[in-house]
Symmetry: D2
Subunit: 258 residues, 4 copies
Amino acid sequence: MADKWFTSITDVGPNKIRLSGYPIGELMGRKSFAEVVWLTLRGELPSEAEGKLLDAVLVSSVDHGVTPPSTLAARTAASTGAPVNAALASGVLAVNRFHGGAVEGCMAALAEAVAHMKEKDVSREEAAAATIGRYGEGGRRVEGFGHRLHDDDPRAARLFALAEELGLAAEGIPMARAFETALRNLAGKGLPLNVDGAIGACLFDLGFEPHTANAFFILARMPGWLAHVVEEQTRERPMRRIEPSAWAYDGPGERHLT
Amino acid sequence: MADKWFTSITDVGPNKIRLSGYPIGELMGRKSFAEVVWLTLRGELPSEAEGKLLDAVLVSSVDHGVTPPSTLAARTAASTGAPVNAALASGVLAVNRFHGGAVEGCMAALAEAVAHMKEKDVSREEAAAATIGRYGEGGRRVEGFGHRLHDDDPRAARLFALAEELGLAAEGIPMARAFETALRNLAGKGLPLNVDGAIGACLFDLGFEPHTANAFFILARMPGWLAHVVEEQTRERPMRRIEPSAWAYDGPGERHLT
Amino acid sequence: MADKWFTSITDVGPNKIRLSGYPIGELMGRKSFAEVVWLTLRGELPSEAEGKLLDAVLVSSVDHGVTPPSTLAARTAASTGAPVNAALASGVLAVNRFHGGAVEGCMAALAEAVAHMKEKDVSREEAAAATIGRYGEGGRRVEGFGHRLHDDDPRAARLFALAEELGLAAEGIPMARAFETALRNLAGKGLPLNVDGAIGACLFDLGFEPHTANAFFILARMPGWLAHVVEEQTRERPMRRIEPSAWAYDGPGERHLT
Amino acid sequence: MADKWFTSITDVGPNKIRLSGYPIGELMGRKSFAEVVWLTLRGELPSEAEGKLLDAVLVSSVDHGVTPPSTLAARTAASTGAPVNAALASGVLAVNRFHGGAVEGCMAALAEAVAHMKEKDVSREEAAAATIGRYGEGGRRVEGFGHRLHDDDPRAARLFALAEELGLAAEGIPMARAFETALRNLAGKGLPLNVDGAIGACLFDLGFEPHTANAFFILARMPGWLAHVVEEQTRERPMRRIEPSAWAYDGPGERHLT
C-alpha cells in the first residue's frame, strides 16, 4: 500500500465538498468569486475590504485588446482550429518574464526594499533608491515601471485609490510610489508605475507570495482570451495572417456606469 | 499595407482601456469580476441577479480536491519543476470531453429538447424523454447526469435554488429536471443531475453559447489548480509518485459562515 | 492494493530498458530514429525500405520557414520569455484541423475510397470521384489537395517518387493520384496534391492509423520550431510585434548535396 | 509598412523550400532525420559520424515505459478525452528541471569544468573535483549523475562506446568520467552517470548549446508519449485513476537484432 499523502485545500467525499472547512454550497451566492479565490489560496476568508481589492485587481487585468502577445497566441491557435481549451492554454503559456511577469518581479523588489528600510532604519525614499542602485549594479532593473503604450495607466491610479479608500495600503503601495520618485530622480524623466507594478504593490499589501503573482494575471486574463478566441473563430477565416498592428476597434463607443 | 481587421471587445490607446465602451477604471471597484466576465463575453453588463448567478457558478467549480485528472495533471507538471503557468496550462489541457466537457454536452441536449418542445408543441416531460430516446438511438447519452462520487451533489442543488431565488430559472433548469425524471423512469434508478448539468442549465438560462461552456469551468478551476500547484511545490519532494487514491485531507475541520 | 494495469510498449526495470523486447542499447547505433519510431508505435521493426520512407516523411516536414501559424505561435511564446519547452508546446497546440490536420483527413478519405473501390468493384477513378461526390454532398471536401503557396509541391513529388523507388506504393498513393485527377476534372483547374496529402498517402501505404497522423507532423516539425525559438531569442528583442508578412530570408544561398 | 525582420533557417517561396540552402527534396531519402535535425539547428550538415551519434542520442530517449511523469501527464490528459496534440503538449510541459532538465545542467557543469581545466592548467580530475566543490558551496549539485532505478544505465554505456567508436569523444565525455570518479571519491559510493549526463556529454562534444538540450529529450520522447497516448485511449476506460506503481509489462519478451 502506498504511503498516504496530504492536502489541506479541499475535503471531498460523497456529497461533501468543503473548501478549507466551509461547505461549498454555503459559499455559493454569499461569497464572491474573488473572496473564494482568496480562501482557496490562503485557507481563510478575506475581510470585506480585502475581497473588494482583490476583485478590483482581477477586473483590472481582464482584457487589453488584441495587442498582448498572449492574446495573439490564443488567436493564432484558434485560427488553426484549436479547441477552446488549447487556445486558452496557448495564452497561458505566453505569460512569462516579459509579459505579465513584472508583477512577481515588482513584488520581489518591494520585499527587498521594505526589508532594507526596516533593517537599516532608513527612510522609505532611501530604501527605494538603495534597492534600485543594487539592481542596477547587478545589471537588472526594478520591474513594474514604464509601459510601451500608457504613461499614466488608468488601472494603476484606480487600484491605488481603491486601496487607500479601503484602508489597505500598507508597506507596498507607498514603497511603489517611492520607487517611482527615485526612478524619476535618477532618469530625469518619468518611468511611471504600470499596472503590473500596481498589482504587485496591492498583492504585496494583501499578503500574497510573489511566487503566485503571475497566476493572478492568468486567472484575470482568461475571460479576455476567451472573448478573443470566440471572436477569431466567428469573425475571421481560418489560417489568416494575424497582423499585430493592422487592427481597429469597432465595438460600442465610450459609455459610463449610471 | 495589410488589410485592417476588427475587434469589438476592448478599445485600447494611450492611457485608454475601454471594455465594450466602459473605461476600465470605472468598472474596477464597482463591478464584480463575474459581472466583468459577462461584459467581456457578451458586450453588455448583466443585471445584478445575472451577475450573482454567474458568480455562484464560478464559485461552484473553484476546487474539488486532489481527485480530478486536471488537478493531478497540474500537480504532475509542478512535481517536475514546471513554472506555475506551465502547470496551470497542463490543468487546462486536461479539461475535455470526459472531464468538464459535460457542461457543453448538457447545454446542447437542453437546446435540442427545448426546441423539440416548442416545435412539436409537446410537454416538457415528453420533450425530455424524446431527446433521451434520440440520443440513445445514436449511441450517445445526455451528459450532465450521474457522478462517480456524489449522488446528491450539493453544488447542483444550491445552483438551482439560487437561480429560482434570483428569478432566473427559465427553460433550461426545468428541462434539466425533466431529464432527471425521464432518466429515472427509464433506468428504474436515479441518475441525478451533477454539477456539470446544473452549470449547463444555469448557463443556458443565462443565454451563453454551449461553445464557451468548458471555458467557464477552466476559469473557475484556475484558483484550485494554483492552490494545488503551490501545495505540491511546498509540501512534497520533486518527482514523487502521485498516487491518486492514497491521499487524505488534513486542513481545517467543518466550519460555517457566521 | 490497486488493480494492476498493463503496458506493452517498453519493459523497464533496474538497468533494463527493452523496447518491444529489444534491449535499447542494441538498437542505438544500429537502427535509425525513424526505425525506432516505427517500432515504438507498431511493436515490430520496419523493413529497411519502410524505415527509409518514414525517415523521408519526417524530413519532409522538418521546417517551412516563419510562415506557419504553429511557428508564429512558438515564436510569440518565446518572445515573452517562455522556456523552450513552453514555446514548443505552443507550437504543438497550433497543429489542428486547418494546419497539419489534413494528413488525418486525407488518410480517412483514402480509406473510404479504397473500401468503396473494393466493395463496389469499380475502378480507382470511379471510386475517387464517388468519394469526392459524397464529401461534397456532406458539405465537406477531401483534404490534402491545394496549398496557398505551392502548386507543385517539391515534397509531394519526392515522397511519391521515393515510395515507388522503394516498392512501397500500394493502394494509397495511386488513389491520391486518382483524387487529383478527379478534382481537376471537377473543377476544370488543378487542385494539386499538397504535402499533407502526400504524407497521408505514404502513411496509409505504410499501414499507420489516421488517428496518429498529426503526431508525425508534430514530431517532424519539432526541430523547426526549436530553431525558430532559438532564432527569436537570439536575434530579436523581447515582446516585438511579429509581423507575419514582413520577413525576409538571409541564410545560405542555394546549394546542393555532392 | 512594418520593418522587415530576418530568418536564416529556411527559404520558402512558391514551390521552393530550401533548408539552409538545400532544396528539401534533395535531402529527403538521402539524409536521415537526425542529420536534418542537425542541419536545421546548426545551418550545416553533420559529418556521417556526427549524424550517427545524434541519431543514437535520439534513439536512447525514445521511451522509458509508464514511469516518467511526462508520460503519466500525457496519459492523464488522454484519459480525459484530449486530442492527441494536447496530450503530447502535456508531456512536453512536464519536461523541466527535475525531469529531462539534467541534460542542460550537466552540459553547463562540463563547460565550467573544461574552462577551469584550461584556464588553470590543471588536470581533468582536479578540474572536475574543483567544479563539484564550487557547486557544493553554492548548495547545488552537478546534474546527470545517479538514477532512481538504474545504477549502470545501459544507454549511458552504449552512448559513450559509440562516441569512442565514431571518434567523437572530445572534452565532454572524459570530463563526465572525471566527474563520476570525483563523485565516487567524495561520497565513498558510486553516483554513476545517468542517461541525462551521457547525453549531455555527447551533445557537448557535438558542439550543441546547453540551452537547446532539453529540446532533444522532448523531440526524442515524442514517439514514446504518442505510443502511450494511443495505448491509454485504446486499452483503458476514460477517467480511470492512473496508479503510477501498479503497472505491469505484457508486451513481447526479450529478443535481439539478428
